[in-house]
C-alpha cells in the first residue's frame, strides 16, 4: 500500500509538459536550447523545430538557456504546455574582440586598431593556412605570395614595412602563447577567430615582439553548457594550371633564332646560336605540357566539443593534402588539437590547449627551369621513341623530364621535409575570494618544433651528360624549443554600473632555442639507401660549419595595462611595458615604452538618441611606442667567417680550415622603436545593416637596426647598427552591409575593404642620402626598384644614338638619359650608371571584397582582392631568369620583338647589343604595372533542411562547390603574359642569376606555375 501510495504520490507530483522555444520577436524556432529543472541535473534539449517535452514536478522552475540569448526562468505552475520566447542577448551578440593576454573586449569598447575575422568567414576561402585564407580580407593586412609551391605560406605585412634589415613579420600568438612555429602548422579548420592588432596601443601589450603587429589566433573550445557536438568538414578538389609560362613554340623560336643570326651577321659582331645537332626547325615540343600534371587537393577534419557548467573540452583531428601541378610537389599535414577548461571549486580554474601538427613537404627537387629553357625544336624522344637523357639547345644542355619520368624516378630523386610541431599552453587561474574581480593567472607555454629534411639524387639521375654522375644525399634537422612563463594579475570590475575598470599587470620570461644541422654525403654505393644511411657514402661527407646553427635568445618583460570605460561612452586604455632582450648590447638591453588610447561612443550620448539611422558611432585615437629587437642573436659579438683550403693534394693532411673577419663587434646596439598615432571612426547605420571603420595612422620608426653594406674598402661586408628612420602612414576603410535582408528568403550581403600605405625612408646613416647597394634612398619608400627607366626602343634615325649608346643598334632598349646637354643640343656623355633612377614598386592602394547571396538553403559567395599601381617584377621578361636573352641560345619568352620590318615592337631586336648574356638594359623589361583584380574564390553552397536531418541526428549539413583563383581582370601583366600577376618568389630565388634584384622584393620567377582549383566540400554537424 505504501508502495502504491508512494507511486501515486510520484505520479501526482510529476507532470509531463511540452512546448516550443522560439526567438523573441521573430518567432523563429530555436533548436538546441538547453532546458534544466532548477536545482536538479535533469534536463532536455529542444529539437530541430524548437520543441521539447519533459516530465517535471508540477511546481518546478525551468531554466532555458541558449548561447546568444538571455537566460529565462519559467515556473511550470501546473501547465502542460510551456512555450517560451528567448530574447536576444544584445551584449553577447555584439562582436567580441580578443585583445591580448586573455582579455576579450566587446568591439564597442575597443580603443585600439583591431581587425577581426571569424573562423567560418575565414574558411570561405578553403586553404592550407591562414595566410592564404586572409589575403585581401582585412584592411591594412597585406599578404604577399612568395612561393607557389604546395604548402607555402605568404609574407605578411601589417601596415607596411618598417624595418630595413630586422624582421617585418608580425608576431603570431596562438591561444595566448607566442607561436614558435610556421603558420603552416596551424590547421585553419581549428580556428575560431583571428584578431589582428595593428596599432601601437593594441600591440604595446606584446611589447617588442609586437612591433610589426600581432596576429591572435584563437582555436575552438567547448562552450559552457554545450551538448556534445561532432563536426566533420571535408573538401576534395583538382588543381589545374592557371597558365603555363609563356614560352615560344617551335616555329616562333626558330624564327627568332633566325632573326638573331641575321642581326649578328648584319652588325658584324656578337654570338650566334645555330641549331645544335639535336634541333630541327620542323619539331615543336611543348616541354611544359610534358611536365605538368593535374594535382589533387583534399582536406578532412573531425572535431568533437562538449561543455558543462564547470568545464568543457574539444578535440579535433585534421588531414590536409595539396598536390601541385609539378610532379612530386606536394604538402600534407596531420593535425591534432585538444582544449580543456575545468573549474575546481568556486575559485580555481585550470586549462590546457594543445595544437599539434605533422607536415610533410615533398618534391622541391623538381623545378620548371629545364622545361622553360629547353629548345622547342628538340624532340624529347630518340629515334627508337625512347625518352632522351638530355636535349641540347644550341650550346646549352638540358635534362629531359616528363611527368611520367619524374614519377618513375621518385625513389632515386627526392627531397622532403618532415615537420612536427607541438604548441601547448597550460594555465591556472585563481579568483581572490575576498576581492571581487581580482584574479591571478599563470600561463605556461611550451613549444617544440622539429623539422627533418632529407634529399637524394641517385647515380646520374639529374646529370644531362653523365649517366654515371655520383649520387648525393643530404639530411638536415632543425629543432626549436621555446617556453614562456607569464604571471598575470588582473582586476575587472564595474562600479556603480557606469565605471568599468580592467587592470592587468604582467611579468613574463621567455626563451627560445634554435639548433639546426645539415650533412651532405656524396657517392652512396647503392640507390636504395636514399638519404637514410649516409655512413655508407664512399665520397666526401661534408658538415659545413656555416650550415650548423645554434641560437638562444631571451626576453624578460614587465607590463601594466589599464582599461577604463565610463557609461559605455568614454573609454581609455593605457599601457606601459618594459622589455629586456638578450640580443642587444649590455647597457642597451632594456627599453620602456608607453601607449595610450581613448574612445568616445558618440552614439551612446543622449543627444544622439533621436538619430535612429545611427546605431553606432565611435571615435578612437591612440598613441604609442613599440620596439623591435629582431636582430639575430649574437649580432653584437662580431664573427669570423669560414674559409676552407687545401695545402697540396695529399688528402686529409692537406685540408685546413681558415677564418676571415666577416662581422665586426658592435657594443652600441640598442632598440629600434616605432611611434604610432592611430585615428579611427567606427560606425553602424540603419539598424546594423551597414557597418564600417575608417582609420588613419602614422608611424615613425627610429634607430632602425640596419645591416649596412659597407664599401669593399671597409674590409668587412656589413655591420648592424641603429641608424635611420622610416615613416608609414596610411588610411584604411572597411565596410560591410546587408543590402537585401531576407526579402522573400533572399539575402544579399557584401563586404569591402580598401587601404593605402605610404612608406618613406626618412633618413639613413647620418647625412647619407642613399645606399645604392641596397636600393635605399632617403625620401623614397623602402621598397623601390633602382634601374634605368625604359622609354621604348631605339629606332633608325633617332637623335644622338651615337653619343648616348656607342656601339648600339636600332631596336635596342632605349632608356632615359638624365645628363646635361651641350649648347648644340647634344648630350655630354653616353648613358651610364648615373642614369639609373628610383622606380616605384609599392601599390597605390589595395583591398578586397566579399559578397554573399542566399536564397533559402542556397548561397553563393565570392571573395576577391585587388591592387592598383605599383610594379610586379617578372624575372622571365627581365635578365635574371635568362629566358629573354633574345639571342636564340635557348628557349625564350614569347615576346613581340623588334625587327627592321616590325619596328613598333616592345622588345628589343634579337641578336642586338648585349650586356652580359642579356640584351642591354634587359632588366628594365621585367617591370609591369602590378594592378589586378582577382576573384579568389567563388563558392556555391546548399544547406539541407528538413525532418530527415533531424531523424538522422544531423543538426547541420552543407555541401558546396568552390572555384579558386578563377579569374584575373584589369592586370596589364596578365593581359600580356596570360599569367597570374601575383609574385611567387623572393628576389633572390627561382632565377638563373639571383643577385640582381634585392632579396626583399617579391618577384615572379620560375617557381611552380600558378594554379586554379575546383573543390567540392561538405560541412556536417551532429
Amino acid at each position: 500500500c505504501l508502495l502504491v501510495f508512494g507511486s501515486l504520490v510520484a505520479v501526482a507530483q510529476d507532470v509531463k509538459i511540452s512546448g516550443k522555444v522560439v526567438e523573441e520577436g521573430s518567432g523563429e524556432p530555436l533548436p538546441g536550447v538547453s532546458i534544466l529543472v532548477k536545482g536538479t541535473a535533469t534536463g532536455v534539449v529542444t529539437d530541430f523545430d524548437g520543441a521539447y517535452s519533459i516530465s517535471v514536478p508540477a511546481d518546478a522552475t525551468l531554466i532555458y538557456s541558449f548561447i546568444g540569448y538571455l537566460k529565462q526562468e519559467v515556473s511550470v505552475n501546473g501547465r502542460s504546455v510551456v512555450d517560451v520566447s528567448l530574447p536576444l542577448d544584445v551584449q553577447a551578440l555584439e562582436e567580441v574582440v580578443v585583445v591580448g593576454y586573455g582579455a576579450v573586449q566587446r568591439k564597442e569598447a575597443v580603443t585600439g586598431s583591431v581587425a577581426s575575422i571569424g573562423g567560418d568567414e575565414m574558411r570561405e576561402v578553403p586553404s592550407a593556412n591562414i595566410t592564404d585564407a586572409l589575403q585581401g580580407r582585412l584592411p591594412g593586412v597585406d599578404m604577399t605570395q612568395t612561393s607557389s609551391r604546395p604548402g607555402a605560406t605568404m609574407q605578411i605585412r601589417i601596415r607596411g614595412t618598417r624595418s630595413l634589415s630586422a624582421s617585418n613579420d608580425p608576431l603570431v600568438v596562438l591561444d595566448g602563447i607566442p607561436f614558435a612555429g610556421s603558420i603552416s602548422d596551424i590547421d585553419p579548420n581549428s580556428i575560431k577567430s583571428v584578431d589582428i592588432l595593428k596599432d601601437a596601443s593594441a600591440t604595446a601589450i606584446y611589447g617588442s615582439r609586437g612591433a610589426n603587429g600581432v596576429i591572435l589566433v584563437t582555436t575552438k573550445r567547448g562552450r559552457k553548457g554545450q551538448e556534445a557536438v561532432v563536426s566533420y568538414n571535408a573538401f576534395h578538389g583538382v588543381k589545374t594550371l592557371f597558365s603555363d609560362y609563356p614560352m615560344m613554340d617551335g616555329p616562333e623560336f626558330a624564327a627568332m633564332r633566325a632573326e638573331a643570326i641575321r642581326t649578328v651577321d648584319e652588325l658584324g659582331r656578337g654570338a650566334t646560336y645555330p641549331n645544335s645537332s639535336d634541333e630541327f626547325d620542323d619539331i615543336n615540343t611543348d616541354w611544359q605540357d610534358l611536365l605538368y600534371q593535374t594535382g589533387k587537393v583534399m582536406s578532412h577534419d573531425v572535431s568533437v566539443a562538449k561543455g558543462s557548467e564547470t568545464g568543457n573540452y574539444s578535440f579535433g583531428l585534421g588531414y590536409y593534402k595539396d598536390e601541385g601541378v609539378v610532379p612530386t610537389n606536394q604538402y600534407s599535414r596531420f593535425s591534432l588539437r585538444a582544449a580543456v577548461d575545468q573549474n575546481v571549486g568556486e575559485y580555481f580554474r585550470f586549462g590546457l590547449t594543445s595544437n599539434n601538427s605533422y607536415g610533410v613537404t615533398e618534391g622541391n627537387q623538381v623545378g620548371v627551369a629545364d622545361a622553360l629553357g629547353s629548345s622547342p625544336l628538340s624532340s624529347p624522344y630518340d629515334d627508337q621513341g625512347n625518352l632522351k637523357r638530355a636535349s641540347q639547345a644550341s650550346q646549352d644542355i638540358y635534362k629531359v623530364w616528363t611527368k611520367e619520368s619524374i614519377e618513375d624516378a621518385q625513389d632515386v630523386w627526392l627531397s622532403e621535409t618532415k615537420t612536427f610541431g607541438t604548441y601547448n599552453n597550460i594555465y591556472g587561474e585563481v579568483e581572490a575570494p575576498w576581492v571581487k574581480g581580482l584574479k591571478y593567472r599563470l600561463n605556461l607555454g611550451m613549444n617544440y618544433r622539429n623539422s627533418q629534411g632529407g634529399s637524394f639524387t641517385g647515380i646520374g639521375v639529374t646529370s644531362a651528360s653523365d649517366p654515371n654522375a655520383p649520387s648525393s644525399a643530404s639530411i638536415s634537422s632543425a629543432v626549436t624549443t621555446s617556453w614562456v612563463v607569464e604571471n598575470i594579475l588582473s582586476y575587472d570590475r564595474t562600479f556603480a554600473e557606469k565605471h568599468s575598470l580592467n587592470i592587468l599587470a604582467l611579468y613574463s620570461n621567455q626563451q627560445e632555442k634554435y639548433n639546426s644541422s645539415r650533412i651532405v654525403a656524396n657517392d652512396l654505393p647503392a640507390d636504395h639507401f636514399q638519404y637514410y644511411n649516409l655512413g655508407y657514402a664512399e665520397g666526401e661527407i661534408i658538415i659545413n660549419p656555416d650550415e650548423q646553427n645554434y641560437s638562444v635568445w631571451g626576453l624578460r618583460s614587465w607590463m601594466g595595462r589599464l582599461m577604463y570605460a565610463y557609461d559605455n561612452r568614454y573609454m581609455l586604455s593605457a599601457t606601459l611595458r618594459s622589455d629586456g632582450s638578450s640580443r642587444l648590447s649590455p647597457g642597451n638591453k632594456w627599453h620602456t615604452y608607453p601607449a595610450v588610447s581613448a574612445g568616445w561612443n558618440i552614439a551612446n550620448e543622449s543627444f544622439m538618441q533621436g538619430v535612429s539611422q545611427i546605431n553606432m558611432l565611435k571615435l578612437r585615437v591612440g598613441y604609442g611606442e613599440t620596439s623591435n629587437q629582431a636582430i639575430d642573436p649574437y649580432s653584437t659579438l662580431g664573427r669570423l667567417g669560414t674559409r676552407f683550403y687545401n695545402f697540396g693534394d695529399n688528402g686529409d693532411e692537406s685540408y685546413s680550415t681558415g677564418y676571415i673577419l666577416s662581422e665586426l663587434p658592435n657594443t652600441d646596439l640598442g632598440w629600434e622603436y616605432t611611434q604610432t598615432w592611430n585615428f579611427g571612426l567606427d560606425f553602424g547605420l540603419f539598424q546594423g545593416r551597414l557597418n564600417g571603420t575608417v582609420e588613419y595612422y602614422k608611424q615613425h620608426t627610429k634607430d632602425i637596426l640596419l645591416s649596412v653594406d659597407l664599401p669593399s674598402t671597409a674590409g668587412v661586408g656589413s655591420f648592424v647598427s641603429n641608424v635611420g628612420e622610416t615613416e608609414n602612414k596610411g588610411i584604411e576603410l572597411s565596410l560591410s552591409g546587408v543590402i537585401i535582408d531576407n526579402l522573400d528568403g533572399f539575402t544579399w550581403e557584401a563586404g569591402f575593404n580598401l587601404y593605402a600605405n605610404r612608406n618613406e625612408l626618412v633618413s639613413l646613416t647620418s647625412g647619407q642620402e642613399e645606399n645604392v647597394g641596397n636600393w635605399w634612398f632617403v625620401g623614397q619608400p623602402i621598397n623601390v626598384i633602382y634601374d634605368y627607366k625604359r622609354t621604348g626602343l631605339w629606332q633608325e634615325g633617332d637623335e644622338h644614338m651615337d653619343i648616348l649608346e656607342p656601339g648600339g643598334n636600332p631596336g635596342m632598349v632605349k632608356v632615359e638619359y638624365t645628363g646635361e646637354y651641350n649648347s648644340d643640343g647634344t648630350p655630354v656623355r653616353p648613358i651610364g650608371a648615373e642614369d639609373r633612377q628610383v622606380l616605384n614598386f609599392n601599390p597605390d592602394w589595395q583591398g578586397g571584397f566579399n559578397t554573399r547571396l542566399s536564397y533559402k538553403g542556397i548561397d553563393l559567395s565570392i571573395v576577391g582582392a585587388f591592387k592598383k599601381g605599383g610594379t610586379v617584377i617578372s624575372t622571365l621578361y627581365g635578365t635574371s631568369s635568362y629566358l629573354n636573352l633574345l639571342s636564340g641560345r635557348h628557349n625564350n619568352v614569347d615576346v613581340d620583338y623588334w625587327t627592321p620590318e616590325n619596328t613598333d615592337a616592345k622588345y628589343p631586336r634579337p641578336g642586338g647589343l648585349t650586356a652580359g648574356d642579356n640584351p642591354k638594359y634587359g632588366s628594365t623589361l621585367a617591370y609591369f604595372d602590378a594592378s589586378y583584380l582577382k576573384i579568389r574564390t567563388i563558392s556555391l553552397g546548399y544547406n539541407f533542411g528538413g525532418n530527415w536531418l533531424d531523424k538522422a541526428g544531423i543538426s547541420k549539413l552543407r555541401v558546396y562547390a568552390t572555384a579558386q583563383n578563377p579569374l584575373v581582370m584589369f592586370s596589364p601583366y596578365h593581359k600580356e603574359s596570360g599569367m597570374d600577376p601575383e609574385s611567387n618568389s623572393y628576389g633572390d630565388e627561382n632565377q638563373a642569376v639571383t643577385t640582381d634584384i634585392q632579396e626583399r622584393l617579391p618577384v615572379i620567377g620560375t617557381n611552380a606555375p600558378a594554379t586554379r582549383t575546383y573543390l567540392l566540400g561538405i560541412n556536417l554537424t551532429f
Binding site: R269, A469, R643, G658, G715
Partner: protein, 622 residues
C-alpha cells in the same frame, strides 16, 4: 643562467685571432682568398682581354666585349672586372691586419705573422698598380684592422701606398719568413723577394713615367724617401738576384712542358698558387662533381676554349652522316676543357709572339693546337672508327681538328664534309684544318697549360671547375724581374741577356710534343740562346714574358707597368671567319685607362655626395 645573457656555441668571435690556432686559421683564410681572384674567370678576362694576347671570343658577353676596347664599350665602373680584385683584396688586407695586431699582442711567432704581412703587402701591390692610390686606412687607422666600420674612404697616393703599405711589410717578410714553406704552397722568404722585387720594379717605372701616364690621386712623381727610379730599379735587381742566388726549395723545371703539366702540378718552379682539389668539395670550396658558380672556382680556361667539341665526323664512310667526334668529359685530359669561347687569341700571337713553333718548345707547351677524337669516352658509343674529311678514317685519339702553322692555300671550306664548324679540309687529310694565321673568334687553339685534369676516373662531366691549382708566381720570374731591371740600368753579376738566356735555354728543351701527343726528346737550348739579341730591350723582355706566361693573367700588368699597352695592343688581327683574310681591329686605349675604374659597388656603398664620389673615382670614368 640569466636569460638575458648570450653565449655562442657555433661560431668564432674575432678574439680567436689572439690564439695560435686562430692565427694559423687566419692565415689559411688568406690563402683561401687567393682562389677568389686567381682562376676567377671574369678577373682573368680583365687581365687578358684587350692586351696583345686576347680579344673577345664568339660567345663573349658585354664584360668581355667592353674589355677589348674595340668599340663595344669600355671597361667602366660597372663592367670592368677588376672589381674582383678590389672587392676581394680589402677583406684579406683587413684580416691580415687583425692577425698582425692580435698575433703581435699575443706574442705569436714572427714567421707566422710574416705570412700575414706578405699577403697584406701583396694585396696592396696589386691594388696600387691597378687602381692607383688606394686607402691604407680601412676605418681602424692606417694598416690597422677595422673596428669602426666606415662608409667613407680616403685614397692615399701611389708613393704612400708603396712606401708605407707595400715595401715595409715585404722587407719585414723577407726578413722573417722561413726559407722553406710552413705548408705545401706556403709563402717563404723567396716568395716575398719576388713580390718585393716586382714592387720595386713597378714603382720605379711609375717614378720614371716614360710615357707620361697620369696617376691618381694626383701627386708628384717623387719618392717620400728621396730615392730615384734608378735606385728602385737597382733594388729590384738586387732583391731578384738574391732570390736567384738563394733559391731555397725552388728551381726551374727541366722543360717548359713540365712547368704546366697537370701531373707535375705544385712543382719546384711554382712559388705560389691558388690550390684546388678534386677530392673534397668542402676544402675545394666548390662542387667537385658538377657545375658550381661560386666565387672560389678555377674556371679561367673555359673562357679561352672554343667550341671544338661540336666538330662532327661521319659514321658512314660513303654518305655524310654526322655524329659527334668528341665527348665532353673531364677524363679526356689536359687538352680538353669545357668551352665558353668568351676570349680568343689574336692572330699576332701565332705570327709574332710564337712565330717560332719548332725550336722553342713554348708554343707547344702553351696551346692545344690539335684536338683528337674522344667519342670513345662515351660508353654508349661503340664505333671503332669514324670518317672525317675525304671520308678518311679517324680512330679514337687521332686528330679531328688541327691548327696548321700557316695557310698553305687550297683549303676548302665547303660543306662536302660538314663538320659543323668553320674549319676547312685539305686533300688527303682526315682532320679538319684551320690555318693558325686565319683563326676567327669562333675557332682558335685552346690553352693547354691551364687545361683541366682529373686524377680520379669516377667522374665524367666537363662542367666541373678545374681542380688543378691556379699558378700565380713562378721562380722563372725572378730572372725576368732582374733582366727588366737590368734593361732599365740596374747592374750586378748577371746581364739582362744572361738572365733571359737561362729562360730561353730551358725553352729549347723538349721532352714531349703535346700537339703530336708523343715523346720528343730534343735539346735546342744552344740555338735558342744564340738567337737571343745581343742587346736586350724592354720590348724583347715583354715578348719573352708573353712566350713564357701567355694566358696566365700577367699580360695587362706587364703592359701597364712598362706603359706599353697602347703600343702592344693598339691594333690586332682576327679573321671574320676561319680562312678569311684577317681583319685589323683598332683599339682605343687612352692614357687614363691605365688606372682601372673604382667599381660602381664601392661608390654606391660609400657615404658622400656626387662630388665626393667623382673625386674618389679615377679620372675619365666619372
Amino acid at each position: 643562467n640569466d636569460i638575458l645573457e648570450e653565449t655562442t656555441r657555433e661560431r668564432f668571435e674575432p678574439g680567436f685571432f689572439k690564439t695560435e690556432e686562430g692565427v694559423v686559421g687566419g692565415l689559411t683564410g688568406l690563402y683561401a682568398n687567393l682562389r677568389r681572384v686567381y682562376g676567377q674567370p671574369y678577373y682573368y678576362n680583365a687581365t687578358e682581354t684587350g692586351t696583345d694576347e686576347y680579344t673577345y671570343g664568339s660567345q663573349a658577353d658585354g664584360n668581355f666585349q667592353a674589355a677589348d676596347l674595340s668599340g663595344l664599350g669600355i671597361p667602366d665602373a660597372q663592367n670592368s672586372r677588376f672589381d674582383v680584385l678590389w672587392n676581394e683584396s680589402y677583406s684579406a688586407i683587413n684580416s691580415a691586419s687583425a692577425i698582425i695586431a692580435n698575433g703581435t699582442e699575443a706574442a705569436m711567432p714572427d714567421e707566422l705573422i710574416a705570412e700575414a704581412r706578405f699577403f697584406r703587402a701583396y694585396g696592396y701591390a696589386l691594388l696600387v698598380q691597378t687602381f692607383g692610390g688606394v686607402p691604407l686606412d680601412l676605418g681602424g687607422g692606417e694598416l690597422e684592422f677595422n673596428t669602426a666600420p666606415s662608409l667613407k674612404s680616403v685614397r692615399n697616393t701611389v708613393p704612400e701606398v708603396y712606401t708605407r703599405g707595400v715595401f715595409p711589410d715585404l722587407e719585414q717578410a723577407v726578413e722573417d719568413l722561413p726559407d722553406n714553406p710552413r705548408v705545401i704552397g706556403g709563402v717563404t722568404k723567396n716568395v716575398a723577394r719576388l713580390i718585393l722585387s716586382k714592387a720595386y720594379l713597378t714603382y720605379a717605372w711609375w717614378l720614371e713615367n716614360p710615357n707620361n701616364i697620369p696617376t691618381y690621386p694626383e701627386t708628384d712623381r717623387t719618392d717620400p724617401d728621396g730615392m730615384s727610379a734608378t735606385q728602385y730599379y737597382q733594388l729590384a735587381y738586387d732583391v731578384a738576384t738574391a732570390g736567384i742566388d738563394n733559391p731555397g726549395p725552388y728551381s726551374l723545371q727541366p722543360t717548359y712542358y713540365d712547368v704546366n703539366l697537370a701531373q707535375n702540378d705544385r712543382n719546384s718552379e711554382i712559388m705560389l698558387w691558388a690550390d684546388h682539389t678534386e677530392y673534397s668539395a668542402k676544402y675545394n670550396e666548390g662542387n667537385v662533381t658538377g657545375w658550381n658558380g661560386g666565387d672560389a672556382q678555377n674556371q679561367s680556361v673555359w673562357m679561352v676554349t672554343c667550341y671544338f667539341h661540336i666538330t662532327k665526323a661521319s659514321s658512314d664512310p660513303a654518305t655524310w652522316s654526322p655524329v659527334d667526334a668528341f665527348f665532353r668529359t673531364v677524363q679526356a685530359g689536359q687538352a680538353y676543357s669545357r668551352q665558353w669561347s668568351r676570349m680568343a687569341p689574336s692572330i699576332g700571337v701565332f705570327t709574332n709572339t710564337f712565330a717560332d713553333k719548332t725550336t722553342d718548345s713554348r708554343f707547344d707547351g702553351t696551346f692545344t693546337s690539335v684536338y683528337r677524337a674522344t667519342w670513345n669516352y662515351n660508353t654508349s658509343r661503340t664505333e671503332t672508327e669514324l670518317y672525317g674529311a675525304n671520308f678518311l678514317p679517324i680512330a679514337p685519339n687521332e686528330p679531328v681538328l688541327s691548327f696548321i702553322p700557316s695557310d698553305p692555300g687550297g683549303i676548302l671550306y665547303d660543306d662536302t664534309y660538314n663538320d659543323g664548324t668553320e674549319a676547312g679540309y685539305l686533300p688527303g687529310r682526315a682532320d679538319f684544318v684551320v690555318p693558325i694565321d686565319k683563326i676567327s673568334r669562333g675557332v682558335f687553339p685552346g690553352l693547354w697549360k691551364l687545361g683541366p685534369y682529373r686524377q680520379g676516373k669516377d667522374y665524367n662531366d666537363d662542367k666541373v671547375s678545374s681542380s688543378r691549382p691556379y699558378n700565380i708566381l713562378k721562380f722563372s720570374e725572378l730572372y725576368f724581374v732582374a733582366a727588366e731591371a737590368a734593361v732599365k740600368g740596374a747592374s750586378g753579376i748577371y746581364t739582362a741577356r744572361q738572365l733571359i738566356n737561362v729562360i730561353r735555354g730551358r725553352a729549347g728543351m723538349w721532352r714531349y710534343d703535346v700537339s703530336q701527343d708523343m715523346e720528343r726528346i730534343e735539346d735546342n737550348s744552344a740555338a735558342m740562346q744564340a738567337a737571343t739579341p745581343a742587346t736586350i730591350d724592354i720590348n724583347y723582355i715583354l715578348d719573352e714574358r708573353s712566350r713564357e706566361y701567355f694566358g696566365e693573367g700577367y699580360r695587362w700588368f706587364d703592359l701597364a707597368r712598362t706603359q706599353k699597352w697602347e703600343e702592344y695592343a693598339g691594333t690586332y688581327q682576327i679573321s671574320p671567319t676561319v680562312g678569311d683574310t684577317p681583319a685589323t681591329v683598332n683599339r682605343e686605349i687612352e692614357p687614363y685607362m691605365y688606372l682601372r675604374p673604382i667599381p660602381q659597388g664601392q661608390l654606391d656603398r660609400m657615404d658622400g655626395d656626387e662630388a665626393y664620389k667623382d673625386n674618389y673615382q679615377n679620372p675619365g670614368y666619372e
